[in-house]
Each structure stands twice: as C-alpha cells, then as structure tokens.
Symmetry: D2
Subunit: 275 residues, 4 copies
C-alpha cells in the first residue's frame, strides 16, 4: 500500500510545490491535489517533472462536478470535469473521489434518480481517461439528521448503489472514520474484493461512543480509538495495493505544517510497521 | 389509437376466451392479459389463433417480477419473467407495465437503488423480446402517506427515472386518473414525444377536488370529471398510435360483464368520436 | 417537417451570418452549422438573437470527436465535444450526427468494439445536454471496397448497432441517397418509429443503377431518380416531424449561392407540395 | 488459488457423482459442471450436500445461450440461462464462461454488434445471481482462418471488448494455452488486476512453434513447453485467488479416468509446489 496525504491535517502548507516537496520529505509517496490546477501552474510536462522529481504521485482528486444540486449546475461542471480528467490522466493519476452526504433537503427518491444518472456519466467520462470513481459513504451520526431526508451512509448501500450505477470503474472510497462510525469491523473489510476499493482515507477518532463522533473533529492516524491496524491489515489481506491517504478533518491545531507532517509520519510509521 | 380493455371494470367476465370474445363483440381491439397463462391454456399456436379469430391483440401485461421487495423475491421471479416475455413475443405483444407506488415502508434511497437496478434488468430482458416496459406513476394523494417514505408520483420524476434507468425501450404507462390527480394539463401531454409513452390507461374521476380522489374509486371513461377528450386529443396530436385501455378500479357495480362492456363501449364511442 | 439546409450544395455562401440570412430568405427554417463556432463569433446571446431574428434554428451539427481512429485522438476531442454540446444546447439545437464509413483499414472487430464504446460515451455526453446522436449509414457501393475491411452500410445493421450501444437518444441520421443506394423502399421507412430517426438528409441521384452511384456526385432534391415524394410521404406518415435538410455532395456547379438556394427552394417547394 | 478440473482430460469419468468423488479423491477442490443438470439429478439441497460432502465447489459452468448465431436461437436459450444461473447461485458457483472463436462465417461487424448486445444481457442476468461472466480468447493460429472473417483472439482486444460491453462482472477466462499461442509473457499477466480474471484454465503445449499448435492437441499441465510456473506465479503475484482448472482438449489417451486424474494431480502438485 502507498502512503499518501491530503491537505486535510497539514495546516497551511502553501503552494502545490511546497505541499509536494514537504510530503516527499516526510516519506509520503502520494498527494491529493487538483491536477488541473497543477498543470495550469507548471504545464503538463512541468507538473509531471515536479512530481517525478519528488517521487510523488497524485493519489486522487475530488469530483468537482456538482451532482447533488440542479441540472444546470451539473452541466456547467462537465467541461471542467473533462479537462480535469485529461490533466489527471496526463499525470498518471487514476482515482477520483466524491462523498455522499447521508441526508439531503431534496426529496430522497428524485435526488437518487438524478444522482444515479449524473454519477454514471461522470464515471464514464473519467473511465475514458482510465480513471476510477470512488464513492465515499459518510458515517458520523449527526449528519444523518442535518438535512431533512436521509439518503445512505452504509458500506452495503454504497456497494448496492455502485451496482445500480452499473458501469465499470466505480468503487468505494473507504475512510477509516466512516468505517468506524458505521460500527463496521474487520470482517466487513475482509468480505471485499480489492477492486471494489478505489482509494482509502485514514484518520482516527476520539474515544467516544460512535454516535457522538463529529465529522470535523478527527484525530491523526494512530492517536485515537479506531483499530487502524486491523483496518490496514484487512486491506492488505484482501490484496489492496493502492493509496492510503491521511485526511484529518479537524480544527486548526496551532502546529506548523512541518510539525503536522512529522506527526503524520510518526503515525504512519507505527501503523505500517505493524502490517 | 387502439381501443383496449383490461379486466378492471368488466366484473366477473370469466375465462380468457370469454374475455377475448366479449371484448371483440363490443368493438375492443385489445385486451390486457397474462400471455403465459393464455399459451398455457391454448398452446402458442392456439392462443395466437384465438386472438386472430377475434381480431384482438394483447395490449399489455403486468410485470410480475417483484422489484419492490427483497432480492430473493426478485430473483425468484426472473425465470417466469423470461417465460412470460417469450410467450408475449410469440403472441405479438410488445408492451409490459408496472406501477410505482408513491411511498414505501423501506428507506427511500436504498429502495430506489435496488429498484433502478432491477427495473433495468427487467427492461433488458423484455427488450430482448422486442417488448417495452412502461412505468406508471400513481397520482392519488392518499397513497403518498400510506407508507412511511415518499418515493415519486409525478410524470416528470418518472421521466427522469426512465432516463436514469438508461436503457432503450422504457417509457411511461400513462393513466388518465394519475394525470388528473397530479393536476397535469393537456400541455403536459403535448410536451411528450410518442415514444415516451408505452401504453395508456383510461378511466374517469368523481367531481371532487383532486386531493380527495381515491385510487380504487374510479369511474368509467366519459362518466366523470376528467377532460378525457383533451387527454386523448393531446395523445393523438403528438402522434401516439398505441393502445388506450380502460382500467376502472372501482367497487363492484352489480352490473353484468356484458352491461359493463356496453357501458364501456358507449364511453369509448363518445370519446373517440370527438377526436 | 422542417425545411433545412446544410452548406453542402450551397457553394461558397460565406460567413455563418450570410448563410443564416440567405437560408431564411429562401424559406429554409433550419441550418446545419457548428454551434461552438457561432457562439464564438457572436457570444451565446448574440448567436441566439441572430438565429431568432431570421427565424432559423440549428438543425444539427457534426460529431467532431474522432471515434474512428486512435484512443488518443478520441480523448483529445472530448473537451471540445462537451463545449460544443453546451453551445448547441444553449442555442436550442437537439441533434448531432455522424456517418459510418462502410469499410475501414482497421480490423473490423476491434474497430467495432472501440467504436461502440466511444459512440456510447459521446451519446451520453450529448444526452446530458438534451441532444440526440444520429448515426448515418452510407450506401454507395464503391465505398464498401475502398478500405480493406467491411463494416456496415444497411439500415438494419445500423438499427442493431443503436440497440447494442444501448443508451437512450441514439437514432438514425437518415439520408435519401443512402436509402436509395441500399435499394430500400418506402415500406422500410414505414416500418420505423419516428423516434428512431434523429435527422433527415435529402438529395437526389442520377438515373443510374444504384451500384454505380458515387457518394460525391449527388443531385439536388427533385432533380433526379430517387422517389423523394415516397420518401417524404413515408416519413410524414410515421409521424416524423423533425428537420429534412438538403445535403448535396457534388462537384462545384458554377452557380452562385443564391442561384443554388433558389434551385434548392424550387425542389423543396415541389416536393413538399406533394405531401 | 484453488485446484480445479473440468471433464476435458479425464476420459469417460462417468456420472457427476463419480466425477465429483474422484476429483476430490485426487485433491481437486473444484469441478466444472452444469449446475442445472446437477440440481436436476439431486435437487438443490441434495446437490449442495453432495458437493459439501466431498469438499468440492463448482468452479464454473459454460454459457449455453447461443450468442453467436441467430436471434431466435439466442432468445430460445434465455429461459434456460436464467434457470442455470439460479441453480448455480444456489450451489454457490459464481463463475460462468464462454469462448470467443477467432473467426466467423458471418460478416464481422454485424456479428460483433449482436454479440456485444447479447453478452451484455447474459452478463446482467448472471450478475443478478452474483455470477461473473468470463470471456475466453482463443489463441491457436489455425482457427483464425477456419472461418471467413476474423473476429478477435488477443487478450487486449478481449479486455477492450469487456470495456465496450460495459457492465460489471465481466472478465477474462484466461487459458494458459491461449496465452502461450498468443505469444504473451508473464509481464502481460502482471499488468492485469485480479478482478479482470474470472476463471483460469490450465493445460500445456507441445514443443512446437506457436503457429503450429492445434487447439485440440493439448498436453497435461507440466508435461509440455508452456512456462506454467511463470503463468501461475504471475497470477499469484497480482493477487488472483480463484480457481485454476485443468482443461486438456486432446485425443483420447487410452488411460483410465483414475490414471488421468493421478497424472493431473502429479502435474498440479509439481506446479503448485513451485509457487
């Protein structure tokens, strides 16, 4: 498995160049960033060169196309989606992700209808560039009632949705926090095939009942209550060989980016040592 | 447009043979019935002969595969679905229909996920036999709260769902009662293309506010408050040339089947004369 | 049916503005042109205004994405396809077309595999903007052996391909020349549903055996041997209400564009009078 | 990886019961057989019991639906396909396979069109029962010219076709003989993801130039010229954990089934020891 970071949990690390450089310095092999932004800054060749120079890949990028709102908003995002897929493919990135909010203020059934159609099209556009789309189920309980109508938040419902979207190259974006807050266990992971997982997020949780955990109050990997060793061992066992990227959504800690990277590295070192 | 009947509104008309014979006697050109039952009774050649002898086609048949419940129940219906499609195709029937309840006791989002996948497979199996699948939105307001979670009941949501199912040969099963209880007008029909409609049900409504109309208390075509002339003229105007089949869901009237057929014929005569 | 023109058969008519203006002057209600080029020249609002001022719509535009060659070439065309679909939708155009060469120098099976996948994606992107994709079978016999391996040229094979592509909003781009050179008759048209046709090209043929007719040696509608009255009557009969656009691929005639428009108008007047 | 056999290479081993019993006796964990035949003989519970008693699973079964010929023939096979999928699922079998002949007497493009549509439907029906469909490319050169028009025989073309079929749960049925006769190497296997392989056939080849190898003249695993150790090591390396089933298409050897099973076991023992 490949050690990765996202900007979430690294403070104000600055430019993409600084982000890539520092990630590499601390042993990370993958960064999540906007590939179109990077090719905009450096050109495609320059961006590829920058990544190669630091021995870092782009692990994944976020699906910007707005599949949750109006049809106009969705359409407006399609030209940029194609451009971003093109940029990502040119830089060797093969993963794009989006999260599923567990509730919506829109009526649930029409929301699912539109979302199914739109995510299929996004997946097919990405697929034309060899990029998989990962759907991230979101576990924290407080979000399930934050909007009027529940959608879905379980791994099984997400797998069922992937089957209903019914095109190749759609899988789970699996996040340890959502696994934990869903009350899932290692046996749920061991039941997966590796191709069902497009990307993995890792972060930790406070030692609270899972019903009380907040989405934006996460801990660094290895500093909390989640059985991350079991999580990673299970993924390794089923044959997952992709990126495991830290994504710590949490209030600012006051530490510098380099301090946070060192802390992240320590967590990864400990966890990966136990695999 | 082709004049059709279903058994709903004809009382206890008896065997399929009696049903077909009497429908023909009263000028109907199409009957809705179970094609597999008919070929079971008469053999394929005999069933075709019986229909041809009376100059009647099978307008449509109901999708028996249970797409609303458990996965096991759905799977169990697939062998019969294939056999029924085979029987229907052998008898020249090209339309199959199913209705969408406007609410469900299952969570709405997972329900829509499973339903989307299942209806797509049903449509593809039917499509292999040249049969279209019609989805019938259901308008009566009381049904929207009869189960815990709303699904959909509007024509537009149904069209969106058809697009999300995203295979050829899926369209609307359009029923005048549901059109009326949704508060739709002729302009909504005039905005359709004929290929978006796989089948049409016709029946009438009591002169009550649409919010008070009950699903199982319908009237015979031409005896109620629905603008059926506008309904049919609009369908004709957009080029719909398929079956318009009476489906009167109502308490038993006490009249004989022949009296009810005569009454139905009178309604159709009046309405079709005005086209 | 809507009278339309393409630039093929109008000589050097000049700018898009001149093309639109002159087409309107001669009673044509539709022009085929590149919507992205037009919005580039006039802005979206300006282009819409120009068309509205002359009472002309954009009938169809050509699919520029190169689905016949390398995967790289195909991908490179996708950003522009999305932009063109966006421009077309903003101008109210709902039809895009591409032709199928009856042979290829690539091995036929892998060619069909790639083409099926690519055309499906193009259709789905166009479909997100409410645009249908028309596939034009190409009849002239000399083209069937112009490249090493035959693909397809019949209407039935094209309909089968549309079914295999298996997404909504794909239909026939039907051209009278290809209908004629395939030896098809009005009964073949009468067997179609209108939704199976996304667009119609009209032009005429020299009074030669169909095996000798050249693709680039066509005549103006009404000046040749094709039974265009039967062709149009059949389309009208089945309920086709879309554009019928002249496309005369022929050597330069020496006449001015205005002379050619007058000649075209005369042909249309005669043919449409007989409907 | 799971050691499996098919009947090909075991002589006249007799009833399904004998086949299962003897396979188990010689250490094989999987047999390929017709699940519908087995449930027909023993009932579903009895068949499951028989397999469980011997510690043997059904590895895969053949797709009987005739996707290569007429539409009527294809349709006629669908009821049985659904029944077979049902029987297979009830017995825990998750793999079905079919081979692709490298040429056809039908025109290649229409053949691919029909085949793409039909295999998609078969895959979707199988998928409803949790069964994957494996497509087996066929390498021997002599078959490429045995019929008039080439289709495909390479692994890459097969992967492209799987992408064009474009539904989940379709993969490669990978056969060592076809890998060898295509001139493929271990690096071609190492480039695969395990989910791209639904099933593996193993058998060996005479020490002849690959262009001279006949499809029906294969050797037992480990007795010929194919680098089967490299083949299996590569599959293990990428994380393939499914069945590797012997399929020796060869003239009758004169040996008894038990002798052939012993010979097969010896080959497997040697090869699996080296992994």
């Amino acid at each position: 498995m490949i050690r990765g970071v996202t900007r979430a949990g690294l403070g104000e690390i600055g430019s993409n160049e600084a982000y890539i450089r520092h990630a590499a310095e601390f042993g990370f092999q993958s960064v999540d960033l906007n590939p179109l932004e990077l090719t905009g800054e450096y050109g495609t060749a320059g961006a590829a060169e920058l990544l190669a120079h630091h021995g870092v890949i782009i692990g994944s990028f976020g699906l910007e196309a707005d599949w949750r709102g109006s049809e106009d908003a969705f359409r407006e995002g399609l030209p940029r989606l194609v451009q971003m897929a093109e940029a990502a493919a040119a830089l060797g990135c093969t993963s794009c992700g989006t999260y599923i909010l567990p509730a919506t203020d829109l009526p649930a059934a029409p929301f699912m209808i539109a979302a199914t159609r739109r995510l299929r099209l996004c997946a097919d556009i990405l697929g034309a560039y060899g990029i998989s789309l990962g759907l991230e189920f979101v576990g924290p309980h407080h979000l399930r009632t934050q909007w009027a109508n529940p959608t879905l938040w379980t791994m099984q419902d997400t797998l069922d949705w992937i089957d209903a979207i019914h095109v190749p190259h759609v899988g789970l974006l699996l996040d340890s926090y959502h696994w934990h807050t869903n009350g899932l266990t290692t046996s749920d992971l061991l039941a997966l095939r590796p191709d069902q997982i497009t990307f993995v997020h890792i972060n930790d949780a406070k030692p609270l009942p899972i019903g009380e955990l907040l989405d934006s109050d996460r801990l660094y990997p290895g500093e909390g209550a989640i059985d991350l060793t079991g999580f990673l061992r299970s993924l390794k066992h089923i044959g997952y060989t992709g990126v495991v990227a830290q994504e710590v959504l949490a209030p600012a800690s006051g530490e510098s980016s380099l301090e946070l990277l060192a802390r992240s590295k320590a967590g990864f070192d400990k966890l990966f040592q136990e695999l």
